[in-house]
């Protein structure tokens, strides 16, 4: 028993070193100056007029994205849960596409489509008045909303599915009209879920770096993430300011998570009971159906067709000065990515290496942690879980900044700053929560009596883990590995802050080509990146399903 306690203590210390130390480095950098504690520095950074304005505009952006993505997601959630459209399950997969397309690629696609004399103006010259509108806060809100709405849609759809039709029918029997039922019965049951979804979208929006760093920079709209990045990377470097802003961002995120917990505790209803809750879907008039189909088509068009068309078209254009024009198409950009120099192929190899190594390490570590959470008592388990899920609650740019500060500080002890290994480490920290969550959910389906049965039959703890538990959680581990692999492959924040010299990943390669090289080559790599993610998703999905 004592050995077990030591093991848990060691795990907590290890996780603290991995996750908490970088976070504390941020606070230290923000609050200590030349070894002295001073709050004035951080306070004056926040009070600087441009930083105060930036904090205001970040929050404004978050609120606007919540409003617009709700306007897209709520009708869709209703359509796909309570109407006859609910039976078209393939839309679940289709609406994952915008979420799976890296946001920096989608916003590059939008920029190339909307800019003056860009693809839209070449195809539909009469729409050129939209360009000025797009390159403003409005365009930024639209692009970000079309990226995050699937997230809220899935949450709300599941919530709506769990409201049994019997409640609605009871209302109807008493002669309540449909709009009143919606207002008095349906919506109150969902407010808790909606509040959680809205807060998550808000956190995701103010944590997002990809879209603000491409489209936001283009229109001069600074937010937390872009300013943290700028102070940490553009001369003159001001890490103290970067850290102060990061501390504020951490504060906002933690506040919102607490708010979310509070709402979850107060506003959830027990809707799933043993009683039959057959789902009856509403039959709709033809007019409504046509309107719904137009709405779905518009969402698909704006969230997928435009950005993907724009990226693909740009990758195939030969001379950019002549644009979309017969005879001006080539696959030369794709060939140039691989043959012109070694950068393209190296970027791909580096990204694959990072994705494979971090997914593998995170899978092993995540399984150990998830197992310990289960094996440790409630108190210790909560501590381990709390620390290890922290990276999912905080913006990745904050964690990466912390890792950068921490490992730069202890370079003399652990010299991994400036090598590829700090990137592996950073990826593992960022993506650890995926594996933990998948494995934990796999565990929740296993009855403890199985392992107990093994013990009765004489199996030792290790034997029963290897032969009973591990095979049962293997699918959870594989799902976590797959998720990490796909997300790590295209990760942008880590490499743009701490990539060593000579090292480009797919994401920084695309960024670099888009900003300083050939847009055609950049967009070719973007297409390769999207196809790679898609194909690996399909292959791994198949591999996992076969096992079942």
């Amino acid at each position: 028993m004592n050995g077990k306690k030591i093991a848990f203590a060691a795990l907590i210390i290890f996780l603290s070193l991995l996750i908490l130390c970088p976070l504390f480095s941020i606070f230290a950098e923000a609050l200590f100056q030349d070894g002295h504690f001073s709050l004035s520095n951080a306070v004056s950074t926040i009070q600087e007029s441009e930083n105060a304005a930036m904090i205001g505009s970040s929050i404004l952006l978050g609120i606007l994205v919540v409003i617009i993505s709700s306007a897209i997601a709520l009708p869709l959630a209703y359509i796909f849960s309570r109407t006859q459209f609910a039976r078209y399950r393939f839309f679940d997969v289709i609406f994952m596409i915008p979420f799976m397309t890296p946001p920096y690629i989608a916003s590059m696609g939008w920029i190339l489509f909307m800019q003056k004399r860009g693809l839209m103006q070449q195809l539909f010259p009469s729409l050129s008045f939209l360009t000025d509108w797009f390159f403003s806060l409005g365009g930024l809100v639209m692009v970000m909303s079309f990226h995050v709405f699937p997230f809220m849609m899935t949450m709300m759809k599941n919530a709506m599915l769990s409201v049994p039709s019997s409640l609605d029918e009871a209302g109807a029997v008493f002669g309540v009209s449909f709009p009143t039922r919606l207002r008095k019965l349906f919506l109150p049951l969902l407010t808790g879920n909606y509040a959680i979804g809205a807060l998550l979208v808000f956190v995701k929006t103010i944590s997002e770096y990809g879209t603000p760093s491409t489209l936001g920079r283009r229109i001069g709209f600074a937010v937390f993430t872009t300013d943290i990045h700028r102070y940490a990377t553009v001369a003159p470097i001001e890490l103290g300011k970067s850290a102060s802003l990061a501390s504020v961002l951490i504060g906002i995120c933690l506040l919102i998570w607490m708010l979310q917990n509070y709402i979850t505790a107060r506003k959830t209803y027990n809707l799933i009971s043993g009683k039959g809750s057959a789902m009856r879907t509403r039959r709709l008039s033809i007019g409504t159906r046509v309107a719904i189909i137009i709405f779905i088509a518009a969402v698909v068009f704006f969230s997928m067709v435009i950005p993907l068309f724009s990226v693909t078209a740009s990758s195939l254009i030969k001379l950019r000065g002549y644009g979309l024009r017969p005879g001006n198409f080539t696959i030369g950009n794709y060939i140039a990515v691989f043959t012109e120099d070694k950068q393209g192929i190296n970027a791909l190899l580096v990204s694959i290496f990072l994705a494979v190594s971090s997914a593998t390490i995170a899978a092993i570590l995540g399984t150990v942690i998830a197992t310990s959470i289960r094996a440790a008592g409630k108190k210790v388990g909560n501590i381990i879980e709390g620390i290890s899920l922290l990276p999912e609650m905080l913006p990745s740019i904050v964690l990466v900044l912390g890792i950068m500060l921490f490992y730069n500080g202890i370079y003399k002890i652990i010299p991994i700053y400036g090598t590829i290994w700090i990137m592996v480490l950073s990826y593992v920290i960022l993506f650890l929560p995926y594996t933990i969550q998948y494995v934990t959910s796999a565990y929740s389906q296993i009855s403890p009596s199985l392992a107990a049965a093994g013990r009765i039959c004489g199996a030792g703890p290790l034997y029963s883990f290897m032969h009973i538990t591990l095979p049962l959680i293997a699918r959870g581990i594989m799902s976590g590995w797959m998720m990490t692999f796909i997300i790590a492959f295209r990760e942008l924040v880590t490499p743009s802050l701490i990539a060593p010299t000579n090292t480009l990943t797919v994401s920084t390669y695309i960024n670099r080509q888009f900003e300083q090289g050939s847009v055609g080559k950049g967009m070719s790599m973007a297409v390769i990146c999207i196809l790679f993610s898609l194909v690996s998703l399909l292959i791994l999905n198949k591999a996992i399903n076969r096992k079942r």
Binding site: R117, G321, G323, Q343, F353, T501, E515, A543
Partner: protein, 322 residues
């Protein structure tokens, strides 16, 4: 089990890609665009000497930022910038090591500083680059582009990112004052990003005219067939030698010196000319671009320019943001 083995094999293969290093040691070089030239120089130097070249490629702004971050643990041996004035300020802060390269006597006069710490192995000039589909021909002077007929159709590279543009702004305002840039900003001038992004804006026709665009980018796009043209306005421009410098803190000092010698060698100088840059030596022949004597120049006082360059770059961004 099989899958685990495959993954392990993949991992090993990837690790071996990074572990590769030469016996002759390494040299770490930070250099700005063009990326093609940087890669060719690195590959040729590796082939000739066996010394492995590690490069970091970025804009002048990014390179300076990187050096600042790494102050505690210096990595760079040789630093190349696209801005002579930034090179001078590195010298003034005592970061550079003096050296006498073998080919010093063949260089353009003035492209080595008096302390022999900055070696202008190549140079670029900025000019006016225009889209020929929008303006079939153009030869307006800087000031004339503030005319209403070019309203909302002018761009400038971000001088806080582009060293060449930054030095031009400093040279121009020292000679003629701020009137021109204020009038251009008033006329709707935009700042699309670093050099290549700014060129992209004029190539796609997002704007018709790019002022202070670096010439080598324009020449190579024109050679590819893009509808562009370039000229140097009559009131003059700044020819900007791109300094290669050896860091005082260079971890591989001997290799750093060898790399600087290589930059001034015949082969490297020919590559420079092939990348449409002005070579740093007077005895290299080329016919793919304007020669040094054909470019009208503003008289440059580099010390005075260095003093104002960062502030004036920031001021351009302020003016255009309004």
């Amino acid at each position: 089990m099989k899958r685990t083995l495959i993954i392990l094999a993949l991992l090993l293969a990837c690790v071996s890609v990074f572990a590769a290093g030469g016996e002759k040691g390494i040299v770490t070089v930070y250099m700005p665009s063009p990326a093609g030239l940087a890669n060719k120089l690195a590959a040729d130097f590796e082939a000739k000497t066996g010394i492995v070249v590690k490069t970091f490629q970025g804009t002048t702004g990014e390179i300076l930022a990187r050096l600042e971050t790494e102050k505690a643990n210096p990595v760079a041996d040789v630093v190349i910038l696209a801005s002579w004035s930034d090179g001078l300020s590195m010298k003034n802060s005592g970061q550079l090591e003096p050296y006498s390269p073998a080919a010093a006597d063949k260089m353009v006069p003035g492209w080595i500083d008096e302390n022999s710490m900055l070696f202008g192995y190549s140079a670029s000039a900025v000019g006016v680059i225009y889209n020929t589909l929008i303006y079939p021909s153009l030869d307006a002077d800087w000031m004339d582009l503030a005319d209403p007929q070019y309203r909302n159709d002018i761009a400038i590279p971000d001088p806080e990112l582009s060293g060449a543009c930054k030095d031009f702004v400093a040279g121009y305002v020292n000679a003629y004052g701020w009137d021109t840039f204020e009038a251009l900003a008033e006329n709707g001038m935009i700042v699309p990003g670093a050099n290549k992004a700014a060129l992209e804006a004029v190539t796609t026709g997002e704007v018709g005219v790019l002022i202070a665009g670096v010439d080598y980018n324009a020449y190579s796009s024109m050679a590819a067939g893009e509808p562009l043209s370039i000229y140097y306005p009559a009131s003059g421009t700044v020819v900007n030698p791109r300094p290669a410098m050896i860091m005082k803190t260079a971890p591989d000092m001997e290799n750093a010196k060898a790399f600087v010698d290589y930059l001034l060698s015949d082969d490297a100088q020919k590559m420079v000319a092939d990348a449409y840059l002005l070579p740093g030596r007077t005895d290299i022949e080329f016919d793919n671009r304007s020669t040094l004597s054909e470019i009208p120049q503003i008289p440059c006082d580099w010390q005075a320019m260095m003093a104002v360059s960062s502030d004036s770059a920031a001021r351009i961004n302020d003016l255009c943001a309004r």
